[in-house]
Structure formats: C-alpha cells, structure tokens
C-alpha cells in the first residue's frame, strides 16, 4: 500500500507539483494543437479547414442517413446517399418534374390503357464491383422491395404486388433461390410468367403490369414518378445473397450499412454519427456512353470525393463561413446572416422546391372535438388567422400562402384553384361566425358578441416543437384565436412524436390532439401523392379529413390518363375542401440554398434530396 501511495505521489509531483506544472500542461496542449493544425494543414492531399482541394466537396446537413438500402431508406438524408450510389430505370429530366430520362432503361413504352409499361434496358451496365445488370436483376430488385415490406414499400405497392392474387406469389425463398446470372428453366418460369407485376421478356427487356397493388386494377398516371424513387433502384442479387439474402418483412443488416450500386459514386465509408464519404466510381459504365446517349442523371461525376458531414445548424453556418464546408443545408432563418458572407451564394428557390420542406396546414378533427363538427366554427377559425402576418413575421416573407391539397408549383395547381382566393384574415367575420355557432365571441374592437352563449371549450393545439417556425406560428394563431374567444392550449411535441401523432391511423375519436399544424412533404414528385395523402386519411393522419366522395375523386384523378379528367377531379377536391374548412391551408416555405460561390452545377428538382434540393452530385463541380 505504502509503495502505491509513494508511486502515486511521485507521479503527482511530476504532474502537478507546482503552479508551473499547470502552465506547462496548458502550453503543451496548445503546442500539440498548433502542431497538429500545422501538420494537417500542410500535408499534401489533406483538406485544410480554410481551403478545400477542388477535387473534394464537403456538404453539411443535420440528419444522417437512415439506411443505405434502397428498399429501406425513407429519409431525405438516406435517399441523398442512395441516389448517388444506386440507380433506377429512370430519373427526373433535369429540373423537370413531369418528364423523365432513361438511366438503366434506354427506352420505354406505355400501353394505351396505361396498365403496361415495357422497358428496354441499357446494355453494358455493371455494378461497381463488376457484376452485370440485366432484366433479371431488375426483377429481383423490385420484388425484393415488395417482399421486404419496409417503410417506403407502399410507393411501389400501390400498383405492384408480390402476389397476383391468383396463386402466383413471389416469396423471399424464391428470390433467394434464383440464379440471376445464368437462370435455370425453373428460374425463368418465375421471371417470365406473364400474370405478375414484373415480367422479364429477355435479358434486356421487362414489362411492368399494373393492377397487382393495393390500388387495384387501375392505371396510375404517376407510375413513372414512383419508379424514379430509390425503392425501385437496382441492387446486386449476388451481393445480397452473399450477405444474408432476402427476408420477408425484415431488413437486411448488411445492406443497411453497405452499398454496391451501378452509379457514378461508390460508398467509401459511413462513420455513423459523423459522416459519409462517396468516391468516384472509376469503373462507371456511364463513362463510355456516346454523348448522344448521355443525360444529367447518368453523366460521370466531376468531383472525386464528396464528404457529407452531419452537424448541428450552428456548426454548419460556421463551417460555411470558415470555408471548411462548400454546401450546407441551413434553415431559411439564416438567410440574412449568410447573404452577408463574402464568397457564399445564397438563394431562395421558387415555391415548388419548397415541397421538400412540406406544405403546412391546420387540421381540425371533428371526431375528437365536438365543436369542430360545426362548419361555422371551422370557418371562423379560417377567418381569424392573419396569414400574411405569419409569412412576414415568421418567414421574413420567404414563404407563400397556398390552397390545397395540390401543392403550389406542381402540375394542375393553377387549374385546381381557379376562382378561389387563399383564406383571408377577417377577425370580424370570424367573431360573427363563432357567435352564430352559439359561442361567446369578441370583435377586434372588444365588443362582445352573443354574451349569453357558451364559452368555447379549450382545445389542445399540436405543433412540432423542433420547428421554430411552427412554434412561432402556433403562438400567433393561439393569440389570434384567443382574441375572438377561442382558447387553445399549446401542446408541442418533438418532431418524431409529432409525426407519429399526425400519421396515426387509429385514434381519430380519442386523440388528445384534435387541432394543430400538420404538414405533408412528398414521397415522389406528383400532385397525386399530396392529394391522396391529405384526402384519404380518415383520421388525424395528415388532415383529419374524411369524405368518401372526395376519396372517389382522388382515385379517379390518380387513375385518369387524360389531363382534363385529372383537372376536373382536382378542382372538385379543392373546392370541396376549401369550403369545408376542416383543413386551413397555411403556408409553403421557400427553400434556401447556401453554398460557396465557386460551387456550381446543382440541378434543383422537387424530388431532390441531395442537400435537400437537387438529386445528383455528378453534375456538381467547381467553377474554373
């Protein structure tokens, strides 16, 4: 014991014997820091904290990917990486969100009834490990997503199914048993069987038959949009089978964190919680294409390495200022700060790109809160809100008011909203409507209306606590409703909790959150994605709106092959919801881009998840 103590005190003496010891340690730390900094900043090939080699791009955002598996990933940050490593049959055509270019598909045709899509695949495509891509691989990839049945599987599941409902059923064991390089006759029997969702016609040709999904035997005008999502991307069956295979209703652990795709980048590393590094695929099949066949979705990458860091907003802004990062995903509230920084380009995108942030609206659940069953109450609330003031105060005018459910900037928005004005602020009308509904109310000048009426019962008001803009909006709305006689109790929840509530499907009549701010952001770029999410949720789920007639119009719009029918149905839906006031359309925030001025080539697209507004990093480069 004594020797231990003596040893401890000898060590103690060396380290902290005198005040100078402290100083020495502090100086040592500084010297180490300085030395490390000097070393790091002068070592060739190492990006410094102030300048970045032009072959490397540093992008910073808040959330790290949820998964690397195209069949599982369902977050913007996950799709961002997946879209650089994997590829699908087609992709949005540059900035267009209604036309598509071939990626793994060279060409395609659609039958007159809209039920059959025939794809001719591009020859010579290989995965980054050299494995070939062909129609068998695509067949495997689509069924894998359906059989795994993970979060985003519904996107394909609307129109495609693993079962044809008549005894033909693709299971995990079938998928795992097939040889996709040299299929046996038995394997071919499965893949070429005609009455199924995906039918192989030949090594480079396949047909997709709609009608086996939960939409039923109907065409779907936005089917190509669903195919442009990662859920329909090609995965290498050899790699999957070597690493656990396909399991029904379960993710594949290996595929969650590793990625082997056909695209222009390869996943070099995913340091969970810190970063993802993508490096140029040196064996990329698209590098050998003639110029006539090239398009923005398949051209080879320019930048060698893309480092994606996941950091808090405050750090991202600091890193963009210091030059460590070249692109950041910053909130619009930072617009004023960033636009003053030299060498940084900040711009606000047109409202259609705001869809990446979501369309926002109030919902009123009449099943859970009886006063909302009176349309006069709902209309009173619509009139009590000063929309322009919210957009000005909360968003510094970087948002736009809208009329739902078709999002502004998307196809058919203008046609659907013809003759309608966004809801207007009219507190006097709001008070009168509330009084007519039997409740005590107050005019803006303080005059009491219906003093003998009922007191409007207090109601919980839900919003996302992680969103400062929703918080400010909620406070403004609470104040404005309070002034006409409606008391709301603000009940913020963290985003995940909030999202769980607004997407709930089972507690419409019992929820403690019958009133609040809801939102929807796209899963694929199509007006119908928004419309169906908002109109066919007979519960709080996104809208609290339930009307069988309107749901029927939604189905008709989804399956219509001519524009007039779509417009006609969307117009009816819009008007019905407008005058129903169950959902009060609030705002669509604009999206802000922030990058170093010498970084160019980003192609904005509403489907974009690369830095949340463009899809592919292959076009991004430094200006000369």
């Amino acid at each position: 014991m004594g020797s231990i103590l003596q040893m401890k005190f000898r060590l103690g003496r060396a380290a902290i014997g005198k005040m100078q010891g402290i100083l020495v340690i502090v100086v040592l730390l500084l010297v180490i820091a300085g030395g490390v900094y000097f070393y790091s900043s002068n070592r060739p090939g190492t990006p410094s904290t102030t300048t970045q080699a032009p072959t490397t791009l540093v992008v910073e955002e808040e959330s790290q990917p949820d998964s690397m598996d195209p069949a599982v990933s369902y977050a913007t940050s996950g799709w961002e990486v997946v879209e650089q490593v994997y590829q699908g049959l087609l992709a949005p055509n540059g900035q267009s969100y209604t036309t598509y270019v071939g990626v793994l598909a060279q060409d395609w045709t659609v039958s007159a009834d809209g039920m059959t899509y025939t794809f001719t695949l591009r020859p010579g495509v290989t995965f980054s490990n050299g494995d070939p891509f062909n129609a068998f691989v695509m067949w495997f990839s689509i069924y894998r997503t359906l059989v795994m049945n993970q979060g985003p599987a519904w996107i394909l599941g609307q129109n495609l199914g693993a079962s044809n409902g008549a005894g033909f059923n693709i299971t995990d064991s079938i998928l795992n048993s097939i040889n996709y390089t040299s299929p046996s006759p038995r394997d071919l029997n499965y893949m070429t069987y005609p009455n199924q969702s995906v039918q192989v016609i030949g090594p480079n040709q396949l047909i997709m038959h709609l009608g086996y999904g939960y939409n039923g035997q109907l065409p779907y005008s936005s089917f190509l949009a669903t195919l442009s999502t990662p859920t329909a991307y090609a995965v290498d069956p050899i790699v999957v089978e070597a690493n656990g295979g396909v399991l029904a209703d379960q993710p594949n652990n290996w595929m969650e964190t590793n990625a082997v795709g056909t695209s222009f980048y390869k996943l070099q590393s995913w340091i969970q919680g810190q970063s993802v590094t993508l490096v140029k695929n040196q064996d990329y099949w698209g590098a050998n294409l003639p110029a006539s066949e090239e398009n923005s979705a398949i051209q080879p990458a320019t930048i060698d390495t893309v480092n994606l860091y996941y950091k808090p907003a405050s750090t991202m802004v600091a890193d963009l200022k210091s030059g460590f990062a070249q692109i950041i995903v910053a909130p619009t509230s930072q617009y004023g700060v960033l636009s003053q920084v030299q060498g940084v380009s900040v711009s606000v995108l047109p409202p259609v790109f705001g869809s990446a942030q979501g369309v926002h609206f109030l919902y009123m659940d009449p099943y859970a809160f009886q006063p909302f069953q009176d349309v006069r109450v709902r209309e009173a609330i619509a009139n009590a809100i000063d929309y322009k003031s919210i957009i000005h105060t909360v968003f510094n005018d970087q948002a736009t008011q809208w009329i739902g459910p078709v999002p502004p900037g998307f196809p058919y928005y203008n046609e659907s909203t013809t003759g309608l004005q966004p809801y207007q602020f009219d507190p006097a009308m709001a008070a009168n409507l509330l009084a007519q509904a039997g409740y005590k109310a107050a005019l803006p000048d303080g005059t009491k209306l219906n003093p003998g009426g009922k007191i409007f019962p207090a109601v919980n008001f839900l919003y996302d606590a992680d969103s400062s803009t929703e918080g400010q909006t909620a406070e403004i709305i609470a104040s404005e409703l309070g002034s006409i006689g409606i008391t709301v109790t603000l009940t913020p929840l963290t985003f995940k909790q909030y999202a769980n509530v607004i997407t709930s499907t089972s507690d419409a009549s019992t929820t403690p959150y019958p009133f609040g701010i809801s939102f929807y952001s796209e899963d694929y770029t199509a007006s119908i994605d928004y419309v169906s999410a908002i109109t066919t949720s007979p519960q709080i789920g996104f809208s609290a709106y339930s009307n069988d007639t309107v749901a029927g119009w939604t189905t008709a719009a989804a399956s219509a092959l001519d524009e007039n029918t779509v417009i006609s149905n969307f117009s009816q839906i819009t008007k019905a919801m407008y005058y129903d006031y169950t959902d009060i359309w609030l705002y669509v925030p604009y999206f802000m881009t922030a990058n170093k001025s010498n970084v160019i080539g980003m192609i904005p697209n509403p489907a974009g998840s690369g830095a949340a507004y463009f899809m592919f990093y292959n076009t991004v480069h430094y200006s000369p």
């Binding site: 005190f9 490390v36 904290t49 600091a318």
Partner: protein, 351 residues
C-alpha cells in the same frame, strides 16, 4: 491494516455494490421502459414510416411484440438484455449490441481524455487558489471555476466551436478524424490507440486534433467542482497543527506542501473525481451531438429523439453501469488514500 481484512472488506464491498448495481440498473430500465411506453405506446408507425401500409406496421409490431401486454413486452426485453442479445435497432436494422460496440469506445476515448484534462486542471487550479488564499490569483481562479461551472454544456460547446473552429480555426468543428485519411483498422475500437498500433501517425494526429476541443469543453464545465474541493481542503489543512509541526521539524517548504498539504487535500478531490467521471460520461450526450462525435452520447440523443427505446434502454444501462463503477472506484480510492477510512463492509465507516 491487515491485508486479509482489507481484502475481505474489499470483496464484501464489491458484492454489495454489484447487487446494488443490478438493483439500480433494473430500476432504471423499468423507469425508462415505462416512460418510453407512456410517451409512445405503439411506435410501430413511427418506426415503419409515415405512410407505411398496414402489413408493414403489423410486421414491425410482431417483431417487437408491441401488441402484447406491457408486462410481456418488458419480459421479452429483459430476457434479451440478460442474454446479451439486445435485439435489432428498429430504425437502423442493425444489431444493437454491434452499434454499442461501435459507439462506446469513441465515447470512452473522449471521456478519458477529457477526464485527464479535468483532473489536472481542476486539482492544479484548486491548489493554486488554496495556496494563494485571498490574493488576486485566488479571486481570479474562483471566478474562472464559478463561471465555467455555471455555464451550460451546450453553450460552452457552441462557444468553443465559434471561437476555436471559426474565428481562430485551429480545431475542426466536428467529427472524429479527417475523412481524407484512410480508415484505421479497428483493433481496440479506440481510434487513437488503433492508429498508434498501426503506426499511422497522420491518423493519430488527426484524431487528436478532433479530440481536443470536445474534450476541453467537457472538462471546462466540470473542473470547477474539483478546484473548489481542493481549494477548500487546502484551506482546511494548510494551517493545521500537523503542518505547523512538519515545518517546525525543519522540513523544507516544498516537502511540506507536497507531502502534508497536497496529499491530504487530494483525498476529497480523488473521490470527487471518480464521481465526476460519471458526470463527464453523461455529459457526452450534449457534447457529442454538437461536435458530431460518433459516440454513445450522440447515439442516445438520436434514440431519444426518435423514440427508439429498444436502443435507448441498453444505452442507459451502459451509462448507469459507468456511473456505478465510477462511484465504486471512488469508494476504493478513498480508502486507499486515507487508510483511516476502511471500506466499512464489516467494521463501519471508521476503523
């Protein structure tokens, strides 16, 4: 003290603490489990995705027994914990044990480094303050440690990033090492150690550069307590009779300070340090999130945020065990540093 009695006391304390640790862990698990389920009774939709089909949600519910009674869910969960099979993370699809194995060494590396700074700076400043009682140096040190002590962790982290990563960019604002380096082969899981094993000096220096700022921030908000304790102890002993006696015996001043003042002052500081280890460990939740440090704290932050309680509970167990072990070490150190105090298993507090 008789070594055999000491060993007996030590083992007795070990057994008691182990039983206590099991009890505390069970209690913590129960509380976290219940709170998680109250907050989100059926998180299947949250885990499956906002527009997941009913069949997808049913598959998630079946996998995590979400439709079973709560006590059965708790049973399944405890069974998995006890058998070391922490299950599968519903959000990442990865085995939770593998995730913890990845994140834990990163956190420990940060905590050990931070703790070393904390102890050295804390004791050093406390000693200086005590020995210069009522001087400007004493006032200055007290101001520093009170200021640091009362600074919230998140504020210190943001200020650290702002000053040392933005205005004076000598440290990176986040991450564990530069992405331009080749990955280091994981042997121990500790990045600095592994880079040394590989003799990969650039990786080691990069790791060190990334480690310093979060470690200093973690230490900066925690060292004050040690400084205060050391200062207080110094003030208690520096005018005591035995110190006067030592001086009267003719010992030189350095020896008096080292052997009679500092040694006694270190008793409280040492036990307090062990407790502070637990504080630093739990403080990583904020620091790791802000510094994008891929450790258990950040993992916990994300799990809380995502209602991912199958992940959160094992993390809490790890943190709880860390705090329990730190407290146990504190008890042992206390008895080693002050032989008058036994571990008290059989003989009470003072022998």
């Amino acid at each position: 003290m008789n070594p055999s009695v000491y060993l007996k006391d030590f083992l007795s304390l070990l057994v008691k603490r182990t039983i206590g640790a099991i009890g505390v862990s069970l209690g913590t698990i129960t509380i976290i489990f219940l709170i998680s389920h109250v907050l989100s009774p059926n998180p299947a939709r949250l885990w499956a995705g906002p527009r997941a089909r009913a069949s997808t949600i049913l598959a998630v519910q079946a996998r995590y027994h979400l439709n079973d009674p709560l006590f059965l869910q708790f049973y399944y969960f405890l069974r998995d914990l006890i058998t070391g099979n922490f299950g599968i993370d519903p959000l990442s699809g990865q085995p939770i044990l593998a995730e913890i194995r990845f994140y834990l060494p990163n956190t420990l590396e940060l905590v050990f480094f931070s703790f070393a700074i904390l102890v050295v700076v804390g004791i050093g400043l406390g000693y200086m303050s005590g020995m210069r009682f009522s001087t400007p140096v004493d006032s200055m040190i007290r101001t520093i440690y009170l200021a640091s002590w009362s600074t919230p962790m998140y504020l210190a982290a943001i200020l650290g990033i702002l000053v040392f990563a933005t205005y004076i960019p000598i440290f990176p604002s986040g991450g564990m090492y530069s992405l331009s380096l080749s990955p280091v082969r994981s042997v121990t899981g500790f990045f600095l150690v592994d880079s040394l094993i590989e003799l990969n000096i650039p990786a080691f220096l990069s790791g060190l550069q990334h480690l310093i700022l979060p470690a200093v921030v973690l230490a900066a908000v925690n060292f004050g307590l040690i400084s205060r304790a050391v200062r207080s102890s110094i003030l208690n002993v520096r005018w005591s009779t035995y110190v006067k006696t030592a001086r009267a015996k003719g010992l030189n001043e350095d020896e008096v300070k080292r052997k009679h003042i500092l040694r006694n002052a270190l008793i409280d500081a040492t036990s307090l340090s062990a407790v502070l280890f637990g504080w630093v460990l739990t403080g990583t939740v904020v620091v790791e999130e802000l510094f994008a440090w891929p450790g258990l704290g950040q993992f916990a932050f994300q799990a809380i945020y995502s209602n991912d309680y199958p992940v959160l509970i094992p993390i809490v167990v790890v943190f709880t065990l860390g705090v329990i072990i730190a407290n146990f070490v504190a008890d042992v150190l206390y008895s080693i540093l002050d032989p008058r105090i036994a571990m008290g298993a059989q003989t009470g507090a003072i022998s």
